[in-house]
Assembly symmetry: C2
Homo-oligomer: 254 residues x 2
DNA sequence: CCTTGACATTGACGTAGCGTAAAGGTGTAT
DNA sequence: ATACACCTTTACGCTACGTCAATGTCAAGG
């Protein structure tokens, strides 16, 4: 397949100008120039553009990208694996930010207080870490061990908070589930409420909720004795009942 | 707490120049200017800077950010909630990208083939979504339900993979732990290996690993009968042994 | 008191990665 | 033959700062 600037640009979701610029700086030259001076791109250029966009998404400069992909020792697959690592790291960074937003909301609503330092956690973890190493001792000297320890406790406190909410959810799930079990109807309102609570519970541990995963976990409760025992100790058959409710809840029983 | 440019900049992980620029464009004015012309920032400015950096992280332009935060109807908490939504969306986008990288690796290694269109999936989810709507039916007609379903299965397959790896880890933990238990030494090599496996297992569920959280979970294993039972059923005292090993592993026993 | 060094100021120019005309040539369908 | 969507190069504009330069401020030490 051959593409002109416009065609390739709309395929890749970039502007024609971008492609001309990439040509200009030598990062992506067209396969050939036709008799009228038109840039013509081939399949190899499509792949290369894909690579470029991958790295651009990571925030690498075009110069860096150029070095990476034009290097003679360039190993595409290895680069991709590294790229994936970076994406995973970026996702972790995002998790940090999300946690910080949660904390900030709590703080704004007066439930907790945040130190100024905490407010910027997650923006530059490296920098923060360096500061920790550099100034940790200094702070300890200045403000005493108490302040440092209190700050450390905030971390533990979060875990504590999480833990409390999780256990509260667990209780609710069991309670709702036991009531629902008596109705013998996994599609009923109570059972569906239990399934929803269970979704909330799951969301606590799984960053991203998907129906498939939820259904999978529910099935696991029946297949894995560890979980079966946990639910069935309250009421034999409860694990299977929860699974049925969740399968209906997620719509994967069809 | 009051800050000069340098102090605030190092707190927030930005350059002094950035703060001056933010002053210049009116997005973040200092609380006051002292007699020598120094910019002095107060707590309100700290919070505002935090907001700005949040939005900047999202890729919003400073102009857009300015509009958002200077708007009279600006509701900080509401904005934070929306912000969180956007972060979650960004994370999803990242998941897509990661999936695409995986697929690309597969493709490069010849296991699957990708259409040129597929190669750009994840870059512009809107575009992709539109394409899906526009061409979804067409693809289904062209390549048959099988292809579409297989593609859907990839998502399910990932969860399956996760599940398998988790259960594999669980097995390893128990095995290692049982061997370690015989040594009666929670600081020994085997026990520490078990603690490390447990860290890996935990990292599967928790986005971000912290020693405190790890130690907290280990303590939970002893405090919460559900978990105690799970470990002790293999060997009475195993939960406590794991906790001790983890406390040593995380260095929180000092 | 004076120096030193780390901080502060404004001003101004540089950079990256394009966007956006301007001024013109090309392809092809009607 | 004309329209219209595409292509070309040249060139200036924009954002979000980085990076000097030239100069003032402040706290500590000799």
């Amino acid at each position: 397949m051959e593409y002109t600037v416009k065609r390739l640009s709309s395929l890749a979701g970039v502007s024609p100008r971008t492609l001309r610029y990439y040509d200009e700086i030598g990062i992506l030259k067209p396969a050939r120039i036709n008799s009228s001076g038109y840039r013509i791109y081939g399949p190899r250029e499509v792949d290369k553009l894909q690579q470029i966009l991958f790295y651009r998404e990571l925030g690498l400069s075009l110069d860096e990208i150029k070095e990476i992909i034009t290097s003679p020792s360039f190993d595409a697959i290895k680069a991709l694996r590294e790229h994936k690592e970076k994406l995973l790291a970026k996702r972790e960074q995002l998790e940090l930010l999300i946690a910080n937003v949660d904390k900030t909301i709590d703080s704004r609503e007066g439930r907790i207080t945040m130190s100024d330092k905490e407010k910027f956690a997650g923006f530059k973890q490296k920098l923060v870490e360096e500061n920790e190493k550099k100034y940790g001792k200094e702070i300890r000297e200045k403000y005493g061990d108490e302040a440092v320890d209190r700050s450390n406790k905030i971390l533990k406190g979060m875990t504590q908070e999480q833990y409390e909410e999780v256990t509260k959810l667990e209780k609710e799930i069991i309670e709702t589930l036991l009531k629902a079990f008596k109705t013998e109807d996994p599609a009923g309102e109570l059972a569906q409420k239990a399934a929803d609570l269970h979704r909330q519970w799951l969301s606590f541990f799984w960053g991203q909720y998907t129906k498939e995963a939820h259904a999978g976990v529910a099935q696991m409760y029946v297949d894995d004795e560890r979980f079966t025992a946990y639910y069935d100790k309250h009421q034999p058959g409860l694990a299977a009942f929860l699974r049925d409710a969740v399968l209906i809840y997620t719509g994967t029983n069809k």
